[in-house]
């Protein structure tokens, strides 16, 4: 893309932020940003030019074959396979970069982990677009790898130990999403242990050696007990953890060596030579020893994340970069003046780019549900420290500034707002929103800290360390508080609750009895009976989704252990137990509630039109839904237009929403995770509203099979919020954001014209004050005009860099499906003031 001829000022006036950023950033950042291969799937397919990386699967398979008959316990074999990959994979250093590390062997590759699930491997075998040339040879390799892991992959091993009835219902794809695996989902991290700056890999290894030595001595003292028997498993676990950390250190040193080789043998530019020697020094130290500088700290974080993604497919990136890197930023930039602000911004911007390019091959439904991005890398900024004081620092500002320079769609930020946040930081957040990034989303810190204490019993100091474990859900990053793996299949396609009330739990799309056999809809003679049936279906669906996760959590320590994640987690280093072992976790589970608001809108329509006004019977409604409203257009429009809709500060429907949430909340306290904690719900959507369009049948809110669902969380249906932004906030504020669920996503569209200048900031600040005063836990903004979005639909080439907020994540507008694009345009633009 050519650099635009207009001046920076002209571009900013025209609000062409993506072109303005290009002019503003350093030549290094410009190179690195343009060097980045975007990895997010478009329409479920990976973009042209990307290829599945076959190097890692081959390394994993050759090591697994070699170890097949070795006497090592499984966890040690698994650690050795991971170490083999880190020792032997191809590494590279991109020109101008200062941070190193990538999952694949080349920048344009997507890594494939064949150890996870045969169903994933089958998709690779049949992938129409991303198999590298020469095709015949690649297919031979892929088939060999896939055949080897058939029956040996995690899911293949776990499934026979599950309730197969539940498993089939989950895998039908009608009500849930994801699989119950400890190596496929969203891994939390014990940042308080591994990122606090007081220890790094060598320190942990020393601790593991002490543990092994003590246990070994104890195991050989005279005596016998269960405790002594358990020590053998623990020693194996500690040994496996050590193998992964030692491999991590060696991997760092491989980069140190490559940087030195380039500097000494190839590079002719003295400045770049200096930088390469600096990279070499950093990687000689990191991750073995704690970081001393911002560059070391960022490199350390990057290695921690990449090693974890060598162990598992991680669909999220829980992180708090300003909190953990802030002290190094302050030291380098403010105190020692070793870096100028611009130099620091180069590092921070590159850190975002390094994260943005991370890629792991996923099954098609996951690619469709996460259109345009690789996963939900929602990084947490702001918030409070453990003592309750403001945690914002110069790194918070640097990250927000860097985001506007590199304009990646992933990672995005979520900002923990609290009353002590300075105006300077709020202005930085606003600038990102105004410039159309769609992030940071704003989170209400006091509410969410109280929520974490209420739902999961986290002590206040731990609750205050929370980060986003995925798009929305807070999880502390403490020894017992962090959740090692959120298994994504406890993600409910909640519109099915309503659908099943009319089908007695039979799913006509996948032709299977999934829900409860509630009474036939035509026999329900009161609204209360309809609501009772709804509650039964809700309980049935949630239970089907939660039980496999609970089971997988119990099976995980033995069948799908995580030696590396355990090694960077204090609970496991202390206990010798796998990080997923429920006995060492407080529990922080949640049910993601996709397609939630359709339930309230549908119930309100039934209550008003069937029972209050008696315009239709339940039998007529059932028949209309069964026929997808065909031949009943007038009736359908009645249900769309003449029934109350959520988001208009109308108590008629808002009270129904509360009834639904409170029934779910009550049941959430009956559903227990293996640690004995609760399973609260969390309404949000990613792009599930589009993915499920052809899976959810017709609904009483007037929606037809195939129509996009609402954009999610507690956001009103697109275009159905007719009474302005305050009415939306008022409806949302009727929900108790501490006790009615774990968090609630709210999408809002604002007009970029209205947000221009100081006046725009003041309008937004007033809106944010209302939002905070009303105790709402989340809000996120799209701030790109209809005109720009329509132009981008007409001429995508010209608008490659326009970013929009989809749901709990942002994406480049041109990378999402037409249906999702239309859905975003349909959202009401709220006028402020």
């Amino acid at each position: 893309m050519a650099v635009r001829a207009e001046t920076l000022k002209e571009l900013e006036e025209k609000q062409e932020w993506w072109w303005a950023a290009e002019k503003k950033r350093s030549s290094r950042l410009d190179y690195l940003r343009k060097a980045m291969w975007k990895k997010g799937a478009i329409g479920g397919l990976y973009p042209a030019g990307l290829y599945i990386d076959l190097e890692r699967p081959v390394l994993q398979t050759e090591k697994a074959r070699e170890l097949e008959f070795s006497p090592d316990p499984y966890v040690i074999k698994f650690a050795k396979i991971l170490a083999h990959v880190l020792d032997n994979k191809t590494i590279f250093i991109t020109d101008h970069s200062q941070l190193v590390g990538y999952l694949g062997s080349q920048p344009h590759t997507i890594t494939w982990d064949p150890t996870l699930a045969a169903l994933l491997n089958h998709e690779v075998v049949n992938d129409p677009t991303s198999i590298p040339e020469p095709m015949d040879e690649s297919l031979k390799t892929i088939t060999d790898v896939a055949n080897y892991w058939a029956g040996k992959s995690d899911l293949d091993k776990i499934l026979p130990h599950m309730d197969l009835d539940d498993a089939m219902k989950v895998l039908s794809g009608a009500i849930g999403w994801g699989v119950p695996l400890s190596r496929g989902g969203y891994s939390g991290k014990d940042y308080e242990y591994i990122m606090s700056g007081v220890r790094a890999f060598e320190d942990v290894i020393a601790e593991l050696d002490r543990k092994i030595e003590e246990a070994d001595a104890k195991a050989h003292e005279p005596g016998a007990s269960k405790e002594i028997s358990d020590l053998y498993d623990k020693m194996n676990m500690w040994e496996a953890m050590k193998i992964t950390l030692e491999a991590g250190i060696r991997h760092g040193k491989r980069y140190a060596r490559l940087a030195r080789i380039i500097a000494e043998n190839f590079e002719t530019d003295p400045d770049r030579k200096e930088e390469l020697l600096q990279i070499s020094e950093v990687c000689e130290r990191i991750p073995a020893k704690p970081p001393r500088t911002l560059q070391e700290s960022l490199q350390y974080d990057l290695f921690i994340q990449l090693f974890s993604r060598n162990e598992a497919i991680e669909g999220a990136w829980p992180s708090r970069p300003d909190y953990y890197h802030g002290p190094y930023y302050e030291k380098d930039v403010t105190i020692d003046k070793a870096l100028t602000e611009e130099e620091a911004l180069d590092l921070v911007g590159e850190f975002l780019i390094r994260a943005a390019e991370v890629s792991q091959y996923k099954v098609r439904w996951a690619r469709e549900g996460l259109q345009g991005i690789e996963g939900t890398w929602v990084w947490t900024l702001g918030g409070v420290k453990k003592d309750g004081s403001d945690a914002c620092n110069a790194m918070t500002i640097a990250l927000l500034k860097a985001a506007r320079l590199v304009r990646v769609a992933n990672p995005t930020f979520a900002f923990r707002w609290h009353p002590k946040v300075s105006d300077e930081v709020m202005r930085e957040c606003f600038e990102c929103i105004r410039q159309g990034l769609g992030y940071p989303s704003m989170r209400n810190d006091p509410i969410l800290i109280a929520n974490a204490m209420n739902w999961h019993g986290h002590p206040i100091e731990e609750a205050r360390t929370w980060v986003h474990q995925a798009c929305m859900s807070p999880s502390p990053c403490t020894k017992h508080g962090f959740q090692p793996m959120r298994m994504a299949n406890a993600t409910a396609n909640c519109a099915k609750i309503m659908e099943y009330v009319f089908t007695r739990g039979y799913d006509n799309v996948v032709n299977m009895q999934i829900g409860a056999e509630t009474p036939p809809a035509e026999t329900l003679t009161t609204y209360e009976q309809v609501f009772d049936a709804w509650v039964t279906q809700m309980k049935t669906i949630f239970s089907i989704l939660v039980r496999p996760v609970n089971r997988a959590r119990i099976l995980a320590p033995k069948m799908t252990p995580r030696p590396y994640l355990s090694a960077v987690s204090e609970r496991s280093v202390d206990s010798g137990l796998d990080v997923c072992d429920p006995s060492i976790s407080r529990g922080n589970a949640w049910i993601t509630a996709f397609t939630w608001v359709e339930n309230a809108d549908s119930l309100a329509a039934i209550k008003k039109l069937v029972f209050d006004e008696k315009k239709y019977t339940m039998a007529q409604l059932k028949e209309a839904l069964a026929n997808n409203w065909e031949g009943r257009e007038e009736m359908r429009l009645d249900f769309v237009k003449n029934a109350p809709k959520w988001g208009n500060d109308d108590d008629y429907i808002d009270s129904i929403m509360l009834d639904c949430l409170r029934e779910a909340a009550k049941f959430s306290r009956e559903l227990k995770c293996p640690s004995g904690n609760n399973w609260p719900i969390l309404p949000e959507n990613v792009s599930g509203n589009i993915h499920y369009a052809n899976i959810v049948g017709a609904l009483p809110n007037g929606r037809r099979l195939g129509d996009a669902l609402y954009d999610g969380g507690i956001s009103p249906g697109p275009g159905l919020d007719k009474k302005g932004p305050t009415a939306v906030l008022k409806s949302c504020s009727k929900i108790d954001h501490i006790s009615d669920g774990r968090a609630f996503l709210l999408n809002t569209r604002l007009s970029p014209t209205q947000l221009a200048g100081e006046k725009g900031y003041q309008l937004w600040k007033t809106y944010m004050k209302t939002w905070a005063d009303l105790g709402i836990d989340h809000v996120q903004f799209n701030c790109v005009s209809d005109e720009t979005l329509r132009s981008a639909q007409r001429d995508p080439e010209k608008y490659q860099e326009v970013i929009v907020r989809v749901a709990g994540y942002s994406a480049h507008f041109v990378d999402i499906s037409r249906k999702t694009q239309d859905n975003i345009i349909q959202r009401t633009v709220q006028g402020l003031g």
Binding site: H108, L258, N265
Partner: protein
Amino acid sequence: MPTCKECKRFFPLEEDPGKGDCVQRVIDPRQAYYQAKPVSADKDAVKCPSFEKK
């Protein structure tokens, strides 16, 4: 028969000269980089299109 150790792109490990890295410059449509892949010094280089005598 040429082996990797005779190649310009081979950089032996100090602690074990029988092993080393094959370091190559790569330019793809978006970026340029140097890559390193572990190889053994005695690896057969006959079929390697990038072999260049030291």
